[in-house]
């Protein structure tokens, strides 16, 4: 019998509020070290936290976007542990009474739709950032360490999923969908490389068909969605091998090594921290009344899943609709193009095909770049009325992306406009037919395959600009 993975994901998201969670310091990334600090976020003696109302609202937006209930009263706690980049040596975090509970997120994979439960969404503060100098950047061997407290106190959300995920592939789809939702909701830039979105995985295996949970391992240090998937795949393999060999899985926290592609033990259950949580006495409970909740709920933007449904109704196929709905830039360009008269499927195909390739190849920013809804709509119209061939359209797109101008101008400049005018094509067709009398005879004898050869000759003679449809019609009428 096989083993079934049971996976839950904890996701940390830094919020894009102007100021920090408990003080007025700027929460932005990239300022010179220790310039965005004050007595509160430095944990100086005597300083006190005050909750940032905007951060509460952002957390509520995420919670409502993930179909959670919002608690009318939630509280903060102190999570106690010593670490040099945590100024107070406790983190103010919600614990047993979080802001949002009992939500879910629907996730698409090739195998269908999966509903992943969201246990809770809670607020906390980020830590500072240590730089360990010497010996490969690890604290154990460093000659000294530098600490930047700019990040200390930046609002963090922790989103905890239920253990509803059953494969590494589903886990990848979950975090992809979650990231898309967070971006759509506009509360975080969710940049994995800058650490403004990070995740830990909890994974255990159990015999297929079993209801009981196996021994859980927590995996940390995955810096990308791909490494999350790889780490979970590695753990499934490792734990399967242990179980098959009759050995126990040890409950522990394991560290993912991106280069080695393996996990290794960090802390066993016995070494786990006792965080000694207790209610934060410096803060009063967070009260969310009905009006506040209703105002936030009413102003929620459309979520990826909703957009996907709408795109499918507009005629897109599922996979393309998924891709476009998950990216807020694609979504807005797509919608603008369709609004300007572009054909939905054609525009969507370009976005997920050519445009994606261009973006990857040329570092093109869709938001700032010249490819917008209007240009895609224009291009779509040129294809449907025969002025451009499908392949020429891709060239035009590259020209537009390169800043050569709007599609019509690019097509003109690059000399890509199709010739479909019969009067212009007729002399060329006549010439080709005169030079290929054998082929005409074959065609007349019913060998229809030969028409492709004749069309090709005309295309060659026109440098590829002839409209194949118009050419076909001309050949048939002349041969017939």
């Amino acid at each position: 019998m096989g083993y079934e993975p049971v996976i839950g994901i904890e996701t940390h998201v830094e919020l894009t509020t102007n100021s920090k969670m408990f003080c007025g310091c700027p929460a932005d990334f990239g300022a010179p070290p220790n310039t965005n600090t004050c007595p509160v976020c430095l944990g100086l003696p005597g300083a006190l936290p005050v909750v940032n109302g905007t951060a509460v609202e952002y957390a509520m937006i995420i919670g409502l976007g993930l179909n959670c209930e919002v608690a009318p009263r939630s509280i903060f706690a102190r999570k106690n542990y010593f670490y040099p980049d945590m100024p107070k040596n406790y983190q103010i975090s919600q614990y047993d009474q979080p802001l949002c509970v009992n939500g879910h997120l629907d996730v698409e994979t090739g195998a269908g739709t999966h509903r992943i439960g969201i246990t809770r969404v809670h607020m906390e503060e980020d830590t500072g950032k240590s730089t360990h100098v010497g010996e490969g950047g690890r604290i154990q061997a460093a000659s000294h360490s530098l600490i930047d407290f700019n990040r200390a106190g930046v609002p963090l959300m922790e989103i905890v999923s239920e253990p509803d995920i059953r494969s590494a592939e589903q886990a990848r789809a979950f975090v992809t969908e979650l990231r898309a939702a967070v971006l759509r909701l506009g509360v975080s830039d969710a940049k994995l490389e800058e650490g403004s979105m990070r995740f830990d995985g909890n994974i255990s295996l159990r015999l297929e068909g079993s209801e009981a949970f196996g021994t859980k391992v927590e995996v940390k240090n995955m810096n990308s969605i791909r490494s999350l998937q790889r780490a979970l795949e590695y753990e499934i393999e490792r734990q399967t091998a242990l179980l098959e060999a009759g050995e126990p899985v040890v409950q522990e926290t394991r560290h993912w090594d991106e280069e080695a592609g393996t996990t290794s033990g960090m802390r066993s259950k016995e070494e786990a921290f006792d965080y000694r949580y207790f209610p934060e006495p410096d803060l009063v409970p967070v009260a969310v009344d009905h009006q506040w909740r209703a105002r936030v709920a009413d102003s929620l933007p459309e979520l990826p899943a909703q957009a996907r449904g709408r795109y499918i109704e507009m005629g897109l196929d599922g996979p393309v609709a998924t891709v476009i709905s998950r990216d807020i830039e694609y979504g807005s360009v797509f919608e603008a193009a369709v609004a300007a008269g572009g054909d939905p499927q054609t525009v969507a195909n370009w976005l997920t095909g050519e445009v994606t390739a261009l973006v990857r190849r040329t570092d093109l920013s869709l938001a700032a770049g010249p490819i917008d809804g209007a240009s895609l709509a224009e291009l779509s119209a040129m294809v449907s009325d025969g002025r451009l061939s499908a392949s020429a359209a891709k060239d035009v797109l590259a020209g537009v992306a390169a800043g050569e101008g709007p599609p019509a101008a690019v097509a003109e400049q690059r000399d890509l406009i199709q010739v479909s005018d019969t009067a212009a094509l007729e002399p060329v067709v006549d010439e080709v037919l005169a030079a290929n009398t054998d082929a005409i005879q074959k065609l007349r004898d019913g060998d229809d395959k030969v028409i492709g050869f004749l069309i090709g000759q005309v295309m060659r003679a026109t440098g590829g600009k002839a409209d194949p449809g118009a050419v076909t019609e001309l050949i048939r009428s002349k041969a017939g």
Binding site: P39, L42, G43, L44, P45, G46, A47, L48, P49, V50, V51, R78, N80, F82, P84, P87, K88, N89, Y90, I139, Q140, S145, I147, D274, R276, Y277, F278, P281, D282, L283, V284
Partner: protein
């Protein structure tokens, strides 16, 4: 002419406004007094002579311009050394903060400066306000102006000794379990703990956040009112701050107690109280009754558990509050082989034995598996105490008890027995747990000539009635005597 250092705040404020005296003269008188008494008392850790002189000159200039910044303008004020002061060493009487210069002023300090107060310096305390005698200070014990062989009480013992001795006209302290009221009682002055949230804690180095409250130590109830008016009121920097301004306390000060119901708490009177202390309290109760008050006997059964609950909640909170003193960013640093060892070495050397004991107690009380039995249970007791107080305040306008079960005890008498030291606060701790205001007023001396404090407790934001009763107690007791070391003749 009497020494200016012995004036009440009210009298000095009057003189400053009439032009009979200047803030500079007042400061000089207080400095002269400090020069005479400090060698004996050690009330201060830091005297900021330059800063005080600048503030006094500024206050006088203000008076000349006709600018009136309120009742503390030009008044020499002392601050307990757990209130952060920008650029002025703030140690909490701990080695771990030796030399620490805060980069900011706490809210109370900011309001004092804005109100023209002349900040004299920083007074001694039990390390991190943990203690009842100042014997836990890393920088030496303060002494009682009534008898230098005895403690001034604590933890705000330096503030109490300074006010009693005339080396400050008024002082501020913090009260977590009685740390303003008990030393005020032992030094024969008025000490008051406001309703939790009335005075901002921003800039008060935390001992136990849910219990700490800044309040005044003064030579009269009226002086305490004036001091509270300046520092009290809403502060957006403290989430637990009460919205709104400080109400009018003065209008009731002359109203007397006629028609008021005064509740005597059975559990805080009688058993465990020194006979001389109880006798003075009973005498005051008779006087209050004669003045028209109705005396009612009340029981607060849960108060029996207040001390136990306090010694779980306060250490638990302190174990987290004091975690930040790790040698990484400020204060003492003792190096080690790695960062954990550095933190451990720093804390082991930086904290004294009582602070270490409470951090350990609190860490244990919050540990997995013990939380419910200790911290959780203590919080449930706290809820019961709050309910008992609420019920009692339906039958009485204020509650009364001795402030301290004993008068000032000899230095060293309780240092080897933490539990007997903890008992010093048995009457004061309940109001911290309930978050209610309470005040100690001197009402007499025992046979050894040591002062006795009478405590008046009131419901949350009940300062007006509390001050009203306290003012009457003050009039009836006609205490009037000054500490022997406060006399300008003593050298």
């Amino acid at each position: 002419m009497s020494d200016l250092a012995d004036l009440t705040l009210a009298a000095a404020a009057g003189g400053l406004r009439s032009g009979d005296l200047s803030a500079v003269e007042l400061l000089e008188a207080v400095h002269r007094r400090a020069a005479m008494t400090e060698a004996n008392l050690h009330a201060y850790l830091t005297l900021d002579r330059e800063g005080a002189a600048r503030a006094a000159v500024g206050a006088d200039a203000g008076f000349k311009r006709g600018a009136d910044l309120g009742p503390l303008q030009g008044i020499p004020v002392a601050l307990k050394d757990n209130m952060v002061t920008r650029g002025l060493e703030t140690t909490c009487s701990s080695k771990i903060l030796a030399g620490y210069l805060p980069p900011y002023d706490g809210t109370a300090t900011t309001r004092l400066r804005a109100g023209g107060a002349v900040i004299l310096g920083k007074t001694n305390l039990d390390e991190f306000a943990m203690g009842s005698s100042t014997e836990n200070s890393a920088y030496g014990t303060s002494r009682n102006p009534w008898d230098p062989d005895r403690v001034p009480g604590g933890s705000s013992g330096g503030s109490a000794a300074a006010v009693a001795a005339g080396s400050a006209m008024v002082a501020f302290g913090s009260d977590t379990g009685g740390s303003i009221r008990q030393p005020a009682a032992l030094c024969g002055i008025v000490g008051m703990k406001p309703t939790y949230g009335l005075v901002s804690r921003y800039g008060l180095i935390a001992f136990a956040s849910s219990l700490d409250q800044i309040g005044p130590l003064a030579r009269s109830v009226e002086d305490a009112v004036a001091a509270l008016e300046v520092v009290g009121g809403y502060d957006p920097a403290d989430s637990t701050s009460y919205p709104g301004a400080v109400p009018d306390y003065r209008s009731g000060l002359e109203s007397g107690v006629s028609g008021l119901r005064i509740g005597v708490v059975t559990e805080l009177n009688g058993a465990g109280i020194e006979p001389a202390v109880q006798a003075a309290v009973n005498r005051t109760l008779d006087q209050l009754e004669n003045a028209g008050a109705t005396i009612v006997q009340l029981s607060l059964p849960s108060v029996e558990y207040a001390l136990s609950a306090y010694y779980l909640i306060a250490p638990a909170e302190c174990s987290a509050n004091l975690a930040r003193f790790d040698g990484v960013r400020y204060g003492l640093r003792r190096l080690g082989e790695n960062v954990e060892e550095m933190m451990s070495n720093t804390r082991a050397e930086g904290f004294g034995p009582e602070v270490t004991r409470r951090i350990l107690l609190g860490t244990y009380a919050l540990s997995a598996g013990y939380y419910d039995a200790f911290y959780g249970q203590a919080q449930r007791v706290r809820t019961l105490i709050i309910r008992d107080f609420q019920a009692a305040y339906e039958q009485a306008d204020v509650l009364v008890s001795p402030t301290s079960p004993t008068t000032a005890f000899p230095i060293g008498a309780r240092t080897d027995d933490p539990l007997s030291m903890y008992m010093s606060d048995v009457c004061t701790i309940p109001s911290n747990l309930s978050g209610d205001p309470a005040i100690s007023v001197p009402v007499g001396l025992d046979d050894a000539g040591l002062p006795i404090g009478f405590q008046v407790m009131a419901p949350a934001l009940g300062e007006p009635v509390m001050f009203r009763v306290a003012a009457e107690v003050e009039r009836l007791a006609a205490f009037g005597v000054r500490a022997p070391l406060a006399s300008s003749e003593v050298g």
